[in-house]
Point group: C2
Chain length 401, copies 2
C-alpha cells in the first residue's frame, strides 16, 4: 500500500465530470418524447406517498396499426433507458442497448410492429427520478425521492399506453428488471397484454439477489460525495462517482460468468510496463473499473439506489396471497427464458415461473438458452433469444386463447 | 432515501470500537506461542523488499513424536488465525475455526498427531502484519507494509518448521487461502511434505476471484477512515469499519450459495415492526451486516487488503514455466477436494489440479463433497471433509512412495 497510485486508492474523477450522468431538462431530447401523467395530478405509490407531475420519456419505432394490435412494449433493465435502438448522439449518451433485436427485419421487426420503450419511473434518462426537479422547488428530489416498486413503474406505463391509444400490447418483453415489469403487466393488467416475455427474470427477488443489491448500495453510500442523496449541488468532479463505480463493478461480475472471465481475462496483466510492478494490476480489474467509470458518465447514483431497491422489492405474490395466486391472475401466454450460465437469475427461477403458470392452468413456454455469458446472455445472445421470442410469438399469436 | 436511519446509510460504529481488531503486543497471548525469524534478520519477499524481525504467532496441539513424523500443518484461510480449536477467551476473540475437525478422536486426531497452525505473515492475530509495530519506529507499518505472496507465507512457515524440529510434515492441510499454502508447500518444499490436502482451492486465482477481491478492496479503500492505510492513530470508533464490513459482506455472499440463502432467508423481513416500514429491510441484509460487524471486531482492514492481494497473486506457475511445470515439482500425494455448490472456487479448479498432478506422473485423489453450502462447505461439512482427509491419509500414509 506504499504507492499512492495503487489501485485500491479511490480513483480521482475528472474535475469537470458532472455529479450526475442524468439527462436534465434542457438537454437535447434526441429520439425521446415526453408524456406527463397529469390526471390525476398525484401519482400514488404502492409503498405510500405520491409523486406529482410524473413524466415518462419514451421512444417508439415503427407504425401503430389502425386497430392498435401491433404494439410491443419493451421494458429495460436496471441501467437501461428508452434508447433500445439507434446511434449515440445528441441526447443519447449510448447507442441502443438492444439494437440487434429491434429494427426492420429483426426479431422484433419494426416493419410490422410498433415498438415502445419508456425510461422507467425513478430513472435518469428523461423520466421522473431522484435527479429530476421537484415541482415545488425546481431542485432535484435527491434524498426526498420515495421508495418505488415494479408495480408503480408498470402503472405509469399503463398510463402511457392509454395516452398512446394502445388498449392491449401484442406482447410485453423484458430481461432482468425488465422481466419483472413484463411479469407484473401480466398479473396487474391481464386484459391489456397479449403475451408476456420474461427473460432472465423471476417471480420474486431471491435472498442472494437482495444480498448483492444491498452490498452495492451500502458501498455506494460509503462515498462521502453521496451526502445522503443530496449531491446535486456538489461541485463538478465531486459526485458519488467512486461509489457508483464500485456498485457497478460488483454487479458486472454477477452479470457474467467464471467461464467468460477466464476465457477473456485469465490472469493477464493490464500493463506489464506499469510502474505498479508485476504484482499490481490485472486486466480484469481494469475491465471492472472501465465499466464503473462508463456508467458514471451516463447514470445517476440515486437512480441506481432507487431501482436496485425496486428489484429487491419485486415479489408478484405480495398482498395477493402468494406466488401461486399471483401467477393464476396471468391469463396470457408466457415465455419464460433462462440462460444456462446465469448465476444471478439462475434458471430455477424461470422454471418456477413456468411451473406456477402451468399449475394455475395457464400457458407457458420455458426455454433455456445455452450460453456461457451468464445473466448478460439475455442481451448478448441476440440470435438465440430473438429466435425464442419469434417462435413464441408465432405460436401464441396475439395471445387470445 | 428520506429516512436518515435507512440501511444504505453507513452504520455508525461505537465510539469506543478500536480502529483495528488486531491482536497487539501486550495483549494476552492465550494459547499462542511466538517465533521470531532472526537469522538472517532480513526476510526477503518475492515481490521485492524485505521485512525485519518477522514474528509468527502459532499454536500447537498434541505431542510431537521423537522422530517428528506425526506433525501436521494446518494453513488458515483469509480471515482465520492460529486458533484452530479451543474456546474464545483471553487473547482469542473467537472460538477455534475448525474445532470439530481437530482434537482427540477427531479426523485430525491430536491423540496421535502433533498439529500446528500459525497465523500467516501479513495477518493480524500475532504474526507480523500491517498493524504490527515497525521495528524502526515502534509504530504500525500501515501504508508501508509490502506486498506479500503465498510463497512468502510458506517460506516463513518453513522457518517455523525448522524451529520446531519438524523435518517433514506428515501432511499440510488447508482450505481456500489455506489450500494455496498447502499447494505451495508441495511445490516449494516437496521433500518436506508427506502429502498435501488442498480443499476448495486452486492452482492460480481466476479472473472472477480477482474481480471479487478487487471490488472488495476498492470498497474498503473508499472508507474515508482508511486514510490510505494509516488509520492506526485515528480516534476509537473512526477506523475503516464500514469499509471492511462491506468487503466482508460482499465476500460472505460468495462463500455461500443461492440455495442456502433461499432456504435460510428467502424474503423474510428483519423486523416487521421496524420504523423502516415494510419495504426496507430483509433478513439477508441484517445477516450480511452482522458478518461485517463481527469481522470488524477481530480483524484489521490492512491485513484484509494484504491477504486479499496474496490470494489474487497466487499462481503456482509463476516464474516456474507454467502450471504443468509447477505441478510436476510436487512429489507427494495430493488430495484435491471440491464442494459441489462452490461458485467462488468452482470444482473445475480442483479438477485442474488433479489433472495437472496426474499428467505430471504424480498421485492425486480428487474428491467432491456434495453440499449446498458453497465455498464455506470446506468448513461446515466437517464429517464429509474429515472423512475424505482420513481416507486419504490412510491410503497414502506418510507419502513416501
Amino acid at each position: 500500500m506504499s504507492d499512492g497510485s495503487r489501485p485500491e486508492h479511490p480513483r480521482n474523477y475528472s474535475t469537470d465530470l458532472p455529479v450526475t450522468g442524468a439527462w436534465q431538462p434542457g438537454d437535447p431530447a434526441g429520439n425521446r418524447r415526453f408524456f406527463t401523467l397529469d390526471r390525476p395530478r398525484l401519482f400514488e405509490l404502492e409503498g405510500g406517498g405520491a409523486l406529482r407531475e410524473v413524466t415518462l420519456a419514451y421512444e417508439t419505432w415503427g407504425t401503430l396499426d389502425p386497430d392498435g394490435a401491433n404494439a410491443v412494449l419493451i421494458c429495460h433493465a436496471l441501467t437501461g433507458d428508452s434508447h433500445v435502438t439507434g446511434e449515440a448522439g445528441r441526447g443519447h449518451p449510448t447507442p441502443g442497448w438492444w439494437g440487434e433485436m429491434v429494427g426492420p427485419g429483426k426479431a422484433l421487426d419494426t416493419d410490422e410492429l410498433f415498438v415502445v420503450c419508456a425510461n422507467v419511473l425513478g430513472g435518469c434518462q428523461g423520466s421522473t427520478g431522484p435527479s429530476s426537479p421537484h415541482p415545488d422547488t425546481g431542485r432535484p428530489y435527491g434524498s426526498s425521492f420515495p421508495t418505488l416498486t415494479v408495480r408503480d413503474i408498470v402503472r405509469s406505463q399503463r398510463r402511457l399506453a392509454d395516452h398512446l391509444g394502445i388498449g392491449r400490447w401484442l406482447t410485453v418483453v423484458g430481461g432482468s428488471m425488465g422481466a419483472m415489469q413484463a411479469l407484473e403487466w401480466g398479473v396487474m393488467f391481464p386484459e391489456r397484454v397479449g403475451s408476456v416475455c420474461s427473460l432472465a427474470g423471476c417471480m420474486a427477488a431471491s435472498a442472494q439477489q437482495i444480498g448483492w443489491s444491498a452490498v452495492g448500495r451500502t458501498a455506494l453510500a460509503l462515498d462521502p460525495h453521496w451526502r445522503g442523496g443530496d449531491y446535486y449541488r456538489n461541485p463538478p468532479g465531486q459526485g458519488p462517482h467512486a461509489g457508483l463505480a464500485i456498485a457497478r463493478s460488483l454487479a458486472q461480475i454477477t452479470y457474467r460468468s467464471d467461464e467468460v472471465f477466464e476465457d477473456r481475462f485469465g490472469r493477464e496483466l493490464f500493463d506489464t510496463r506499469s510502474v505498479y510492478g508485476k504484482w499490481d494490476r490485472f486486466q480484469v480489474e481494469s475491465y471492472l473499473d472501465y465499466h464503473g467509470e462508463k456508467l458514471v458518465k451516463r447514470f445517476d447514483a440515486n437512480t441506481y439506489l432507487v431501482l436496485n431497491r425496486v428489484m429487491d422489492l419485486h415479489d408478484i405474490g405480495r398482498d395477493r396471497g402468494g406466488l401461486a395466486a399471483a401467477a393464476a391472475r396471468i391469463t396470457s401466454p408466457v415465455l419464460s427464458l433462462s440462460i444456462t450460465s446465469d448465476t444471478l437469475y439462475p434458471p430455477r427461477q424461470q422454471v418456477e415461473l413456468h411451473d406456477a403458470v402451468v399449475a394455475a392452468g395457464g400457458r407457458c413456454v420455458y426455454t433455456v438458452v445455452d450460453s456461457p455469458h451468464g445473466h448478460d446472455g439475455f442481451l448478448l445472445e441476440v440470435e438465440a433469444v430473438g429466435q425464442a421470442i419469434s417462435d413464441f410469438l408465432d405460436k401464441v399469436g396475439s395471445g387470445a386463447s
